[in-house]
């Protein structure tokens, strides 16, 4: 078991190293990509401050709480993009038939199609997000337990994000007609950069129970400020476990139904 984990880790790191080498080939792209992301981050950060210049509370959330939520969103989103960048390249792999050559390799295909293309450009942004997040969190009076629960629920959010990415991969196996399914996920996730309470009740319900982006992003921050009751914490872990399980099952069904290009 340990040997297997060690081998998988070695392959993962090698994929990462090669991804870094590939990224390093185009310096202009690095510059433009990073600049675009920084500008978007600053712009939305500015919007939050602009909104709070007109009001003190939005749906029960203060400015600092919304800022922490926004940074938490950015952290989870950027971390997912860093780790799961290869998912964005999955459909071309299926259409070109190159996926077949991945499926005959003696490792779990997730090593390649899920985490095989670590995007180091996102790492450039993840580090400042992380420190900004810590900076804002430690300005608040937070208990150790709340902080611990926050961290656990952030990890839980990353598990839900993993499940979403696996769903996208499985969908890519089942049909090549859904172009850029990952972009649908991203569009939905973007709604989570604000507290789910700002949405109508029905949308808030959907974002908690059906497409749990609220559990991914709003729940950790609620836990940080002691807004989350015990039942919701248990529910958060349950839904991430269920989502992960379902996504893996969906992937397995996808593999069975996979027809392969040119087959």
């Amino acid at each position: 078991m340990f040997k297997k984990i060690k081998r998988n880790l070695k392959i993962f790191l090698l994929f990462g190293y090669q991804s870094l080498k590939t990224t390093g080939q185009s310096r202009q792209a690095i510059f433009l990509f990073t600049l675009g992301k920084i500008l978007r981050f600053i712009f939305l950060f500015g919007v939050i401050f602009l909104v709070f210049s007109k009001t003190k509370i939005i749906a029960g959330w203060s400015l600092k709480q919304v800022v922490i939520l926004y940074l938490t969103f950015n952290f989870i989103d950027t971390f997912s993009q860093l780790l799961y960048r290869e998912v964005y390249r999955f459909r071309p792999q299926v259409i070109s038939g190159n996926l077949d050559l991945i499926l005959v390799k003696p490792y779990h295909p997730f090593l390649r199609v899920l985490v095989g293309g670590v995007d180091f450009l996102d790492l450039l942004l993840l580090v400042p997000y992380f420190f900004l997040l810590l900076f804002f969190i430690f300005q608040e009076k937070i208990s150790f337990f709340s902080f611990f629960l926050y961290l656990t629920l952030v990890i839980n959010g990353l598990i839900i994000s993993t499940a979403f990415h696996i769903f996208v991969l499985a969908l890519g196996l089942l049909t090549t007609e859904v172009d850029n399914a990952i972009m649908i996920y991203r569009d939905i996730l973007n709604l989570g950069r604000f507290p789910i309470e700002i949405y109508q009740q029905i949308i808030s319900f959907i974002f908690t129970f059906i497409i749990p982006i609220g559990v991914m992003i709003t729940f950790p921050v609620k836990a940080l400020f002691n807004f989350l009751n015990f039942n919701n914490v248990v529910f958060a872990f349950f839904i991430s476990f269920l989502f992960l399980l379902l996504s893996i099952k969906f992937w397995q069904i996808g593999l069975k139904k996979y027809q392969s290009a040119g087959g």
Partner: protein, 321 residues
């Protein structure tokens, strides 16, 4: 080593009707029978050629044998494994090369992919170096491995694909149209490589190709497949005995001969003095030769078998719906 019994594969394919509403809301799917109860066995160190027109089921067979596709029904055993289970121990013993598809990392030199495969297949340093040296030497490609893949020609890239696929010395190699799109020199290089590899590593190789030349030069055994059914499974020589009913008789005439005399044999398929060629039924050969000896003055006489390409073409045409 490979055992296939009653293998069937059905693809579910979406059929467009041309009506936008129907195509979006009331989709029609069609079941396409890609393989229809196919059975065969392949032993160790065999090189088998799979021949068939587009959509015959060649690639589907290979993809099921390698575990890429899940069979609809039937039993498949490769090296004692059920391929679709994708056990690591199984996958470490096989390899798949597909023409015009690649496992190489586009922006980096091929050596980077080789190093990656070294870890994936858990090759020790010594074995990796030894195999890499051997394989690059067969292709005389020692310098190419350091060039970024995107800078290589198609032929050079295919050579690198082969090296990447065979570094771990697989026991079974699936080759799907490996020479497609290559010039004649690269085709020859690939064929020689396959031959040398099989001899050196005692591998079992299954090859599909549109170029019959590949199969003629490499495979002793031929499996002909059409519309998901096996039409023939046997040696290249037996196929002529079994399915060829024609012979070609070529004559170099000594002097011009009246057409009526020539037409007694049959209508020549080519006639430009002094050369005349007849296509005759195999069973008529003794009488025809006797007639020629008796009635036609000639300088040279040659009797040839029907070309294997024609035999196979006829075989496909006879099995059209």
């Amino acid at each position: 080593m490979i055992s296939v019994k009653n293998l069937t594969k059905i693809y579910k394919v979406y059929r467009k009707t041309g009506n936008l509403i129907n195509d979006i809301f009331f989709r029609r799917y069609e079941n396409i029978l890609a393989l229809d109860k196919v059975s065969f066995e392949i032993s160790k160190n065999e090189l088998v050629g799979f021949i068939g027109p587009n959509g015959a089921g060649k690639t589907t067979t290979l993809k099921i044998l390698s575990g890429i596709l899940y069979p609809t029904s039937g039993k498949v055993s490769v090296l004692g494994f059920s391929p679709f289970e994708k056990k690591e121990a199984f996958l470490k013993q096989i390899s798949f090369v597909m023409g015009q598809r690649n496992q190489l990392i586009w922006d980096l030199p091929a050596i980077d992919t080789f190093l990656l495969n070294k870890e994936i297949y858990e090759l020790d340093e010594e074995k990796f170096k030894k195999n890499l040296q051997k394989l690059t030497a067969i292709f005389s490609a020692e310098k190419l491995i350091q060039k970024p893949v995107k800078m290589l020609s198609l032929g050079e890239r295919m050579k690198m694909e082969f090296i990447a696929a065979l570094l771990h010395q697989p026991k079974i190699v699936f080759l799907d149209e490996p020479t497609i799109g290559l010039d004649i020199f690269s085709q020859e290089a690939i064929r020689n490589f396959i031959k040398d590899y099989q001899k050196e590593f005692k591998a079992t190789i299954i090859l599909t190709s549109h170029y019959l030349e590949d199969v003629k030069k490499l495979a002793k055994r031929l499996i002909i497949i059409n519309k998901g059914k096996i039409l023939y499974d046997g040696s290249l020589t037996t196929i002529l005995q079994k399915f060829s009913s024609l012979k070609y008789v070529s004559l170099i005439l000594e002097k011009e001969v009246k057409e009526e005399v020539l037409f007694k044999i049959g209508k020549p398929i080519a006639y430009q003095f002094p050369k005349v060629v007849f296509r005759i039924q195999k069973k008529d050969l003794p009488q025809v030769v006797a007639f020629i000896n008796d009635q036609i003055p000639y300088l040279d006489l040659a009797i040839e078998d029907e070309k294997i390409e024609e035999v196979i073409k006829n075989l496909f045409e006879n099995h059209k719906d």
